[in-house]
Each structure stands twice: as C-alpha cells, then as structure tokens.
C-alpha cells in the first residue's frame, strides 16, 4: 500500500476533494453512479454531509482552531510568553479575561497561543498512528498466517514498552538537554515518539475489524469475481473497517494533547517559551485550590477542540457508512 492512498484512513474529507466536485453532478445520473460505484459512494456521502448541521458546526469550530493555530495574534493582543510577577495569580479582569498565571502571564493569550503546539502535535501524531497502525493492521488481518503472526508479535513487543520509558529514551537521545533543536524538530520528535508508542492499539483494532469483515459476503463475492487484492482492500475492506478506527482516532486527539504535556513535564518534550494546553494544565496543578482557572480554561479549550473533532469524525463516518443510510 502506498502512502497517499493510506492517507484516506484518517482525513477522509480532504483527499476526496476532487471527486467531491464531480460527485453532485454524478448524483443526478444514476446510471453513471452505478457504473463507478466507489465514486458514487463518496458522492452520496458528500450529499449526505452537506445537509448535516453537525458537520458544518464542527467544521466551523475546527476552522476557528486552525486559524487560531496559524494566526494567534488575530485573537489576542496579549503577551503569551512574558509575564511580570506583580500580576501573579490575579483574577480574571477586563485586561486578562482568564486572569494571570503564577508567573503573571495572561492566561487568555496563552490559551490562544497554546492552540498551535497542541493541535499540531495531536493531529499529526494521530495521523501517524493511524497510518502506521492501520497499515500494519490491514496487512496482518487480511493476509493472516505468518504475516499476521510476525506483525502481531512485533506489535506486542512495542505494546510492552512503558510509555514513560520509551519517551524518555527516544527524546533524551535526540533531544537531550543542551541540544539546540528547533521547535519544529522537537515537535517532530515528540510526534514520532507518540506514534511509535501508540500504534499497536490501532493495529489491534484495525486487525479485529478486518478479521470480522473479510469473511463477509460482499468480500467473498468480490474475490469470486476476481477482484485484485488492492481493489478488495481499498474499495471494500477499508470503507467497512474504518468506523471503529475513526471513532477511536478522534478521541485519541484528546489523549495525545495530554501525553504531550506529560513529556514536557518530564523535561523531555516541548520547552518554554513554547506554550501548549497540556503544559498549561500541568503547570496549574499546584495552584488548583487558589486558581482553578489555570487548569479549567485550557481544559475547556481542549474539550471543545476534541469535541469538534469527534463530531466531525462522527458525521463523516455516518455519511460514509452505507449501512446507516
């Protein structure tokens, strides 16, 4: 399986864009649609999606977060990096809507600026995990036999690694103190460690779906009709195995934001002055009795972001799934 095709495992909306344009025109022509079954499926999905308010709402919120990540200064004029102790732990006011943290930094500005690192790390890690886990899961579930045995056992080995241990080793080896890595490189390393340490779950999930689906009548029928492996996998197996994966991955966005914070807290992840929601939440930990807002505000943003991803994933999945139509 090549990379571009596997990409559709996660970001379903984007790769289909070319067909989306063509789809509505085809939709009105049933003969056409019947001839090109996969395109018809996506066309149907798009038609379905367009009518869903949930899809538009979640898409709008995600766009808002994307803009926030790309151009944080549009949302705040505050300084997310520098503070002054004179403002330490001040309550929310008209100057700083969410108050100030222990270092006297504007919490609102930090939450806005934190969107970038949080969203980029979480999304790319989920993407990578789905790619790697999904790929291995399909091969192992579909091929079975020795391929399954070997790949499953390799997954078991990685599964056995404690997260903290794996992350400390990977990150200190490449990102030890004193190394002068750029922020982008550190992000890359953090993403890589998250992917390496989390793919086995996705692999197991994908494999179980494939195992359950590959004996289905339509797969057997497709095989009997002489369809090639690639065709069976992409046109039949994948769309039908995607559901649990998509659900899992959207929630995983939330866990990864938290995992990134754990790494920063151990001194091996992102470093100040880079801000992320996870870092903010763990920094607020000691002051939860005096200033619960330090934990609450970033957590609220995190929940909103994850919620919109879950909703979007849900809408797309329902649209894609012929059984639910």
């Amino acid at each position: 399986m090549s990379d571009p095709s596997a990409a559709s495992i996660v970001s379903t909306p984007r790769p289909e864009q070319p067909t989306e344009i063509g789809a509505p025109t085809n939709a009105g022509l049933p003969e056409n649609a019947r001839k090109e079954k996969p395109r018809g499926l996506l066309g149907d999905a798009w038609r379905d999606l367009r009518r869903k308010p949930l899809f538009w709402i979640s898409l709008a919120i995600i766009l808002l977060f994307v803009v926030m990540a790309a151009f944080p200064w549009l949302f705040t004029s505050g300084d997310a990096k520098n503070g002054s102790l004179t403002h330490s732990l001040e309550k929310p006011s008209s100057h700083a809507w969410f108050g100030y943290d222990i270092q006297g930094r504007d919490v609102y500005a930090r939450v806005i600026y934190g969107a970038r690192a949080s969203i980029v790390v979480a999304l790319l890690s989920v993407f990578g995990t789905m790619l790697l886990g999904g790929l291995v899961g399909i091969i192992s579930g579909y091929r079975g036999g020795w391929a399954d045995a070997v790949l499953s056992r390799v997954a078991d080995v990685f599964f056995g690694l404690p997260f903290v241990l794996g992350a400390i080793v990977i990150l200190t080896t490449f990102n030890g103190s004193g190394s002068n890595n750029s922020t982008i490189k550190i992000m890359g390393l953090v993403i890589a460690s998250l992917v390496i340490l989390s793919w086995p779950v996705v692999m197991r999930l994908m494999r179980s779906s494939v195992l359950a689906t590959k004996e289905a009548d339509y797969i057997v029928a497709a095989k009997a009709m002489g369809a090639g492996t690639g065709r069976i996998v992409f046109k039949h197996l994948l769309p039908n195995c995607l559901a649990p994966l998509l659900v899992y991955s959207t929630i995983m966005v939330g866990s990864f934001i938290g995992a990134e914070a754990t790494l920063s807290f151990l001194g091996v992840g992102l470093r100040s002055p880079v801000v992320s929601w996870g870092i903010m939440i763990s920094e607020g930990q000691n002051y939860i009795r005096v200033a619960p807002g330090l934990v609450f505000f970033p957590a609220a943003f995190l929940v909103t972001a994850v919620l919109s991803f879950v909703m979007l994933g849900e809408a797309v999945r329902e649209a894609l799934d012929p059984k639910l139509r």
Binding site: S152, V164, L165, P244
Partner: protein
C-alpha cells in the same frame, strides 16, 4: 483451534526475548550516571561508585549484562535493585496490588462504558448521547490528578463517603474511587466504540430478522446485537488491562497504593535495567495473554472468524 493455541503459545518465546532485550537496551541507554546524584551537590566518593559498578556489572556491555540477567531469570531470580532489595519481593508484593486496582478499574470502565455505549447506540443524538459524549471527553481532557484531586477532596474529605486514600490492606470498597479515576480515561473510548458498533449492527439483517421474528427487544439487544458488537470493545478492554497496570503511576501515588508504578518510574530514572525489565516482563506477559484471550474471544463472539 488446538494447533492455533500451541502456535500462539510458542510465539510467546521470541516476543518475550525481543521485548525484554529491547527494554533492557532502552533502559541501558537512558542518559545519566545512576550514581551522579546520590551524594547531593558533591560528587560521590569514587570508591562508592566503583563498588556499585562492579556489583551490578555496569562496566560490561549491554549484551553481557542482558545474558547474565536472563541466566538468573531462568533460575527464577529477578535480581536486586541498587538499594539491595530483592526484585522477587517487589513483584510479589506490588503486583497483586496493581492487578487488583487495574481489575477494579477495568470492571468499572466496562460496566459504565458499555452501559453508556449501548444506551446511546440505541438512541443516538438524544440528550443522553450528548451528555455521555461531553462528560467522557472531559474525563480524557482533564489529567488524572485533577479528577483524583476533585474526588478525593469532595467525596473523601468533605462528604466523607469514602476513605480519601487506600489503606495497606486494600479493601475492595476503598478501591472504587481510585479504580474509577484510573478507568475514567478509557471510558470515553469504550462508550464511543460500543455506541458506534451497536448503531451499525442495529441495521444489520440479522437484527431485523430477529425483530421480525417477534423476539422481545431485550433478547434482540442482549443476545444478538450485543454479542455481535462486542468485538472492537473486547479488543479495547483486552489491550487496556495491561495499559491500566502500567499506567497507574499517578493514581497509585495519589491514593497511596503500593503498586508497581513507583518502582517502574524510579528504576527508569535511576537506570536500573534489571528492575525495569523484571517488572515490565510480567506486564508483557499480561499483554500477551490478554491478546491471546481476545483473539480466542473473537472466534467465540463471531462465528465468521475462524482459526485453523
């Protein structure tokens, strides 16, 4: 089936060796001199460092160290920590506690997650559905310490419903709160995956047939629907037991449970390969056996899946 089982059990051997070596090597490559920080702002006496180095063969290369470790392991000796404690003892005392906590967490997670999943899967997009989604997501977004802190202070100290920390005898009643905290992070996954699976299978032919046959709804849901929707849920639960055991570091420390979490973390930062590997080895065995169990359950749950 029998042959499959034998084959899977045989496969455990290379996985076991691979994992233990990988972990041994990883811990070995954690940077830092284990004895550099032992004597405060002073460097330790070289004689002390030399004695410790010789005792734990730290001047040998990683292969020799691993081989020695495995040789002792095969004789049932896990070795000792740098502080001279027998790792066999640590495993014998800490593992049952961690396992107890993880099982309680898994049970809570399964019960709450599955109930929520089934209810919301049958009636999607209702009020309950949204409530479950938002509340379980909040559990994921809030780090464990916040959930633990809030419960500890409200239920434990203010309302005095439960004991705020766990006593060393670990009665079941005191484990419910920590179990909930530990399981809370995975609840959203279980609820969501169960919901999706139920919703999908709800439209399946066999469900329609069952309803058409006039079977009572309870039976349709309880036997036909649930059984066929459990595969992804079981996969998650199976992989989660190991994760719960290995990931209880924070929960264990907040509720003063004498589990493996603290030993794993402590021995990682002090570079005690033998301790890390010994503790993780047992975890790996749990993972492997759970995965095997899950694979066997697939066949039991879904007649379409067969192992030959």
């Amino acid at each position: 089936m029998g042959r499959y089982l034998v084959r899977r059990l045989l496969q455990l051997v290379p996985v076991f060796l691979g994992t233990t070596f990988l972990i041994y090597w990883l811990v070995w490559s954690v940077p830092g001199d284990p004895f550099a920080g032992k004597c405060g702002e002073r460097t330790c006496p070289p004689s002390y460092v030399a004695a410790m180095t010789a005792k734990f063969q730290l001047d040998e290369n990683v292969f020799v160290q691993y081989a020695t470790y495995m040789k002792n392991l095969l004789q049932g000796d896990f070795g000792t920590t740098y502080s001279g404690r027998s790792i066999n003892d640590i495993i014998a005392t800490a593992y049952p506690n961690t396992l107890k906590l993880a099982v309680v967490a898994l049970a809570i997670e399964a019960v709450i997650g599955l109930t929520a999943g089934v209810l919301t899967g049958l009636r999607r997009n209702g009020f309950l559905d949204n409530l479950v989604l938002v509340s379980t997501l909040f559990m994921i977004a809030l780090p464990v310490f916040v959930v633990a802190f809030v419960l500890q202070w409200t239920l434990g100290l203010q309302l005095k419903i439960v004991s705020a920390t766990v006593s060393s005898e670990m009665p079941f009643s005191e484990l419910i709160m920590p179990g909930f905290v530990l399981g809370s992070a995975s609840m959203a996954y279980i609820a969501r995956v169960a919901r999706t699976s139920i919703a999908e299978n709800r439209r399946a032919d066999y469900v329609r047939t069952a309803i058409a046959k006039g079977l009572p709804m309870r039976r349709v849901v309880g036997v036909h629907l649930l059984r066929n929707s459990l595969i992804p849920v079981v996969t998650l639960l199976g992989t989660d037991l190991g994760a719960l055991m290995g990931g209880a570091i924070v929960t264990e420390s907040i509720f003063t449970i004498n589990g493996i979490g603290r030993e794993v973390y402590r021995s990682i930062v002090t570079k005690e390969s033998a301790t890390v590997v010994s503790i993780v080895v047992v975890l790996v065995l749990v993972y492997l056996l759970m995965n095997l169990l899950v694979d066997l359950l697939y066949a039991a749950l879904d007649p379409r899946i067969r192992y030959e």
